[in-house]
Symmetry: C2
Subunit: 739 residues, 2 copies
């Protein structure tokens, strides 16, 4: 890296970037005052430094350990009440931090909580870029450069991350990013099998092998189900199980009315579910819009490409063939952008009460958009071009417009008659290879290399600009020139970090899920796909680490106990894979597949293979789920034991320990006073019988009382019963029958 790694963060917990709004020093000063006071009231110490021309850094740390301890204690109590922690925090707040030391991520989470959570809950209530805190541009912690460097070195030297590495990621960056790393790691390890098998299948069985399809489908099921279990175990290991239940209210939630809870007397902001469901119905037109808008562009480009590559044979063909790709590259991101904005607005309109529900709703919409942009092209090739090309190609002459200016004579863009047309048998395979190899490389470049270059370039440009300004004289000396010399290096680094974009784990996760989708849906086209993904994902994890540590601000640590909606997406893709794979295998296995003429495909056979494949998939999934659910992991056993111990301890403390012990014989039980029959016979003395009579005459003579006074103790019952048994005519009965 260009900048030197500096070890100290000056004890700074968080940096708040304050930008004076719109050339208005007056408001700026007022808002700044409000900000500093809000932070101080919450118990945070502050130091102010200059950032750039119009913005300040406010460095924040906990004013004293006591305040922080209070915050940690309250957070742990809350966790305990929501069932996230099994063990009740000790009541001695002084011991809070020593008995269970904070991880770095937890500390930052606490400070972030103090800065950002609403005043009613004890925070400063700062909402960056929102409402009254518009001037607050960013709130972020500083990178731990020593650790970052260590990660980059270590991770690049090993094939697999160890559980300890994952724990360290979690301890530093929080559980949400920890989950991403754990997922990527599990996925990477799981890829070994399809990579090895796929390679052999590719060599031995060729493309479109039914055996590969079955093994791949099975692998998808096992992987998804295994990850679900893994997720649960990680939640236990990291102490975040049920963390989704702590529902942070969304600031933007607009209640319809406020109702009073009849039991707790609380005022609850209320928005009727029925109204929300009605609004959610708008998702259907949104999805339709996505399909139409993106579908139209993708289909058009697809058609143009086919037209140019397979019909047109005039000049500039080799250049023109890139035309549709260029259109796609320009149009799709634009449309996607618009659609995402629509989706965002709709999600806001759906007005969720919690951030979690909001995010889920948004992710499911994003998935629909991504599904279309990622898979529609290859779906068109497999299920439209290959079977129907010879029927459709004649209609492509409307696209002759695109090449007319370049063509020399009409014949060059005349569509051939269906009979003369032959499809390009390698188109599908080439497309899959593109997604498996080229697209991954492009993506890596876009994600990791481009930002680095941009970042470097911008820095260089700024330096050159300020150098020129200095040379031309008269310009104000650069701001950094005023930094205290001993802080110079530190402040430079903070300025660099503040200039970086935020890290978005969701987009990295999405990328992996989409990749899993290619594997599940189409890898049968080219069974070497998993090999490429295996290699790619090794780089991916290191690239993401680089992005996280070098090209992004350090993220605010967040907790999570699941990948959430992405997991559902993967389940859906695995299911869909059972359908597409069966269809592909049926159409293509044993040759190059249909030659663009649908007559070769028997629809019933196609449908039957799809139907069979899908139902076998569902049955296998049920079986795998069942089997996995039966295996008790050590983490789960540990959790159960812990729960048991907590209960036991609780009862002991409450003096209720004997409440779960067996009841002892009642103290006055006759068994304790006498143990033989003789003792009892003597007990039924004259006196006691008389007493009976008296008691009976005193009570109203209920038949039930008479009934229960026949035998007054268990011993009497015993005696009477044995007497009855003695009277029984057991043998007699048998003899009588024999007569």
């Amino acid at each position: 890296m260009a900048h030197k790694v500096q070890e100290t963060n000056m004890d700074v917990d968080y940096v708040v970037v304050f930008r004076v709004p719109d050339d208005d020093k007056q408001t700026g000063a007022e808002q700044f005052q409000k900000l500093i006071r809000a932070l101080a009231e919450t118990g945070l110490a502050t130091e102010v430094r200059r950032n750039d021309e119009t913005s300040l850094f406010i460095f924040v740390k906990a004013a004293d350990e006591k305040t922080l301890t209070q915050v940690v204690y309250r957070s742990r109590i809350k966790d305990w009440l929501h069932g996230i922690r099994q063990i009740q925090p000790t009541q001695d707040t002084a011991q809070t931090l020593t008995s269970e030391p904070l991880t770095e991520a937890e500390r930052y989470r606490m400070i972030h909580h103090m800065i950002c959570c609403p005043r009613e809950e004890g925070g400063a209530g700062i909402t960056p870029k929102h409402g009254e805190w518009k001037a607050v541009e960013a709130v972020f912690p500083l990178h731990d450069h020593a650790k970052n460097k260590k990660w980059l070195t270590e991770f690049s030297q090993k094939t697999f991350l160890t559980p300890d590495d994952l724990d360290e990621v979690r301890n530093t960056m929080g559980e949400k990013i920890g989950y991403y790393y754990a997922f990527l790691q599990t996925y990477f390890s799981f890829l070994i099998f399809p990579a090895a098998f796929g390679l052999s299948a590719w060599v031995l069985l060729g493309n479109y092998s039914a055996i590969y399809a079955i093994v791949n489908g099975l692998w998808c099921v096992v992987f998804v189900e295994y990850w679900k279990r893994q997720e649960e175990e990680l939640a236990i290991r990291w102490g975040v199980k049920n963390v989704g239940k702590i529902e942070d209210k969304r600031r933007e939630f607009i209640p319809d009315k406020v109702i009073t809870d009849s039991i707790t007397g609380e005022q609850i902001p209320y928005f009727p579910s029925k109204k929300r469901l009605q609004r959610q119905l708008l998702q259907i037109p949104l999805a339709a819009l996505c399909v139409i808008a993106l579908g139209a562009v993708i289909c058009t480009c697809f058609a143009i490409e086919i037209f140019i590559s397979e019909v047109y044979n005039g000049p500039l063909k080799s250049v023109l063939v890139f035309l549709p790709t260029i259109i796609l590259t320009l149009a799709v991101p634009t449309i996607t952008n618009y659609l995402t904005q629509f989706a965002e607005r709709l999600t806001f309109y759906e007005n969720y009460e919690t951030q979690d529900a909001h995010d889920k709703a948004m992710i499911s919409k994003v998935f629909v958009i991504n599904f279309i942009t990622s898979y529609l092209g290859i779906i068109l090739t497999s299920f439209v071009y290959v079977p129907f090309a010879s029927l459709l190609v004649p209609y492509l002459d409307i696209f002759s417009l695109t090449v007319r200016p370049f063509a020399e004579h009409e014949k060059q863009f005349q569509t051939p008659p269906p009979a003369a047309f032959t499809i390009n048998p390698n188109r599908l395979k080439n497309q899959m290879i593109y997604f498996a190899v080229t697209a991954q490389l492009v993506n890596f470049a876009m994600e990791t290399v481009v930002p680095l270059v941009t970042q470097k370039g911008t820095k260089k440009y700024k330096e050159m600009q300020s150098a020129r300004a200095e040379k031309s004289g008269g310009a104000a000396p650069s701001i950094s020139a005023n930094d205290p010399p001993e802080e110079k290096e530190f402040l430079t680094r903070v300025r660099e970090e503040a200039a970086l974009p935020e890290y978005d784990v969701t987009s990295d996760l999405r990328e992996m899920v989409i990749q899993f989708g290619y594997l599940a849906l189409f890898s049968v086209i080219w069974p070497a796909t998993p090999v490429s993904y295996f290699i790619n994902n090794w780089i991916e994890l290191r690239g993401d680490t680089f992005k996280l540590t070098m090209e992004s601000r350090r993220p605010n640590p967040a907790r999570a106990d699941t990948l959430g909606p992405w997991l559902d997406s993967m389940e859906f893709l695995a299911w869909l894979g059972s359908i597409t794979t069966a269809a592909l295998v049926y159409m293509f296995s044993g040759g190059d597949g249909p030659d663009g003429k649908p007559h070769a495909i028997r629809l019933w056979a196609l449908l039957l293979s799809v139907l069979l494949s899908e139902h076998i998939f569902l049955v296998v999934r049920m079986a795998v789920r069942h089997a996995i659910s039966k295996f008790d992991s050590s983490a789960m056993r540990k959790e159960r034991s812990e729960r048991f111990m907590v209960r036991k301890k609780f009862l002991e403390e409450a003096g209720l320990a004997d409440a779960i012990k067996p009841v002892a014989s009642p103290p006055n039980s006759p068994l304790k006073t006498a143990s033989g029959e003789q003792a009892f016979t003597s007990m039924i003395s004259r006196e006691s019988l008389e007493e009976d009579a008296r008691a009976d005459s005193l009570t109203t003579a209920r038949p039930a009382d008479h009934f229960w006074h026949h035998q007054r103790t268990w011993a009497e019952s015993e005696r009477v019963g044995i007497g009855m048994i003695d009277l029984m005519d057991l043998k007699g009965k048998g003899e009588k029958k024999a007569q």
Copy 2:
């Protein structure tokens, strides 16, 4: 009813029937002694009476309220620890019964618990008919005849049971039976819609209507999903949510080894899941066996029936046609019986740790058997006979054996050539009408009328016999002659109840699930089916009440919070319905369907309709699930509020109430001592600065300390920051650019 309703149960809680084993008075007396002592030690009072020649009644009640209170208190603490109760029971055990009175069912459950639960857990450990307690024939409570009579009268006078009625059933018979009644009631109410719609569809659209099929499928989804929600609400209403988590260990569980828990130090009997999974694999051959054994019989009878009814035309046809039905009626129950025994043995071999898991495994096996016996016949008609009859009929001549003795000449049982054969177009409809109407009537008779007649007959026979014996003289006087006169009536009644069979709620539930299956899978054949079921189920509920109260011993109250595996079965049937219904509609709509020749069916169209129908079903189910999950019921809201209150109360009691309140400003915060800037400027006096210097020289000069000493209070930060803002060259920048 024949016997007079007697109001008093003599305060008897439970009756234990003790039968002297195998003519052996000695062992009998010993075991009896052991039994009486075990009961007395547990805190139960006993009275002994004679039952019949070889058995005794031991009447049991709680010895005193104190013991019972203890048991109730312990049970409630256990519930609370397992999260079934929200509210912690008061620690004052004396108040246990007054603060929350016991329902009848709960009281009986407690007494049953005392009698039957293992000694380690404070019970007498009696296991009727098992192990050392082989002589204990039965353990049951006595019917509340007044209430029974009231139910029979009331229920027969109303169309719908009210929630109060259901509560009363639950309070008297326990939650398990309460759930059955609630389910039957919900199902009955839900049937109104398909009954009305089905009737109109039958009149207006005829059979095999696609519209009816869609509505029916939708109804199935909504009903199943609604019931799931209903179940949850009932669990809250009845306070049994999570009751499944209290896992009663099975006595019969055989651990592989005993392991010591590393955390709790408990000795845990352990059986590896892997081994169990291997044993569970035996379910596959078992299912295959069921299919083969039952399938062979059913297919054979089916073929014979077709042969006789549609090929044979010799004498005695009208009689012979019942031959297959007779074979079925004799063979199927026998085979089912064997298979059930196999299933039972396999379930035992699978060696489950808890009764719950054992029951679930057993029910799923029973469902497979029932599925075959119930639906295979009609599946054969719809998907084999109707499309393939003309191809298969020629092969039926092997069954000519069955009629050869009766036929007059060969022609009478010669199979016609395929071309000459015409299928019976009404066969499928008639079969469905049989299942919708006739089978229900037969079933009702078998279930309610036959036991009544048998019971009456046996009683009469016994009376006659004893009368004859008395007349012929010499015989021992009947045992009832020795009863104390005031107990005569009571004891007669107890003897009658002891002679009754046990009530098995599972079989009633199974019957309803199978009925639901006919509705989901085949009702499109004859859309009036739901009307018949609607009427039948009104009677069914009353009949079951009669069976429960008059023809069975009173069951031991059991808790439950779900229908369990039956719910899964219904989900499966609804899903399967989407497939069969689509197939039936495709094949039959717009006529009598195929004429036994498969050429009329286009396989691709059939498969396509099945595929579409199934996937629409799955999407709709997801949507319905989503919608239902979003509606908050009042019961759920109440539960949440209660949980909140419990937490709040707990924190208050533990003196932690302020732990969830916001942190106040730290006490020494500068904001409290001074509020303006002036005050602070003066605070930075000479002394304090000197103090700084001293402090700095004392500490090792860490750069971080220097960093944080620039601004020592929030007010200084504020001042410095405002100063910086003042220095900002905001306008200047803009101007410079403009130059």
